[in-house]
Amino acid sequence: MNCKEMKLKIQALTDNELEEKEIHEVLNHLESCYRCREDYISLLQLQKKMKNIAIPEPQKEWFEDLPHRVLRRSGALLGKVLFLGSYILLLGYALYSLFRSKNEEIIIKFAVGGVVLGGLILLIVSLADRIRESRSDKYKGVLK
């Protein structure tokens, strides 16, 4: 194998990604080729330099507590879904009962109907705005 073909294997060696059966072949080549040895040393030096760049991190405790926080927040999300789902169900049932009832005055039924219809219109308008906004988003492709 020539030096050109060897360069990616030398890099894989420095990255601990070389298959075991190939390590011996690369080491043999490095012993016999001065240029590739220089390449190998410079790759190692570059990696060492990169390691010197420290990345700012939150405190150790933040990482330690993360799994608990994630599970807690996920539990809270389930709670929110249950709460909202049940709320909508109850509201639906209450409205159904109100409109089916023959004892309630018609004005009450109209007022409640108006509130519900108004809320629905507002919801649809805001949803339509969001959809229009997302259609004209030039980074839409990136997000997907």
Binding site: I55, E57, W62, L66, P67, R73, Y139
Partner: protein, 174 residues
């Protein structure tokens, strides 16, 4: 462990969070350049992952999937900003137990390195950040960038050679 987490095992999922939290945080930091925002997004990534574990294909490496969630959440956060490319966050490095002269030399070296990385083309910068700051394997990089492993190897090699050239240029100027 991944299969157990997918099946809803909380201990297994906690183990995954512990294993990948630093890498996810670093990925978020490379987009957001801010510790608070990056930690916030990292937490959100794992919440999303936990709630969508059913959508994860266990035949593929986990990190690229987490990386994609991270990238999407970061882009959403940056939507109003123009800074969308990954780059190195600015950082103060503590040099414990070293003489002031040595500290100065190291600081200068790192400044050169950061400048050289910033001068690379985006695809080279991205692959270097994935390899060196998120400890991605070739297979994980291939999955993240949707390119074959062979291309990862050659792109990484070219990126490193470009970086070396940039560093030499910097040295010559200095």
């Amino acid at each position: 462990m991944i299969l157990a987490a997918k099946a809803g095992n909380k201990t297994a999922f906690s183990w995954l969070v512990e294993k990948y939290s630093r890498r996810v945080y670093r990925a978020a930091l490379s987009f957001l350049h801010n510790i608070e925002d990056a930690s916030d997004i990292a937490q959100e990534v794992f919440i999303r992952a936990y709630n969508n574990m059913a959508a994860y294909d266990p035949q593929r490496p986990l990190y690229p999937w987490l990386y994609r969630i991270t990238r999407n959440l970061c882009i959403n956060r940056l939507k109003s900003s123009t800074d969308r490319e990954s780059s190195l966050p600015d950082v103060q490095i503590p040099f414990k137990g070293e003489t002031p002269e040595l500290q100065l030399i190291k600081k200068e070296e790192i400044r050169h390195l950061r400048k050289a990385i910033a001068g690379l083309k985006p695809s080279y910068r991205e692959i270097l950040l994935l390899k060196h700051f998120q400890d991605c394997s070739y297979a994980e990089i291939a999955d993240i960038l949707s390119i074959p492993v062979g291309t990862v190897m050659s792109r990484l090699y070219n990126a490193r050679m470009s970086l070396r050239k940039e560093l030499l240029k910097e040295d010559t100027i200095a």
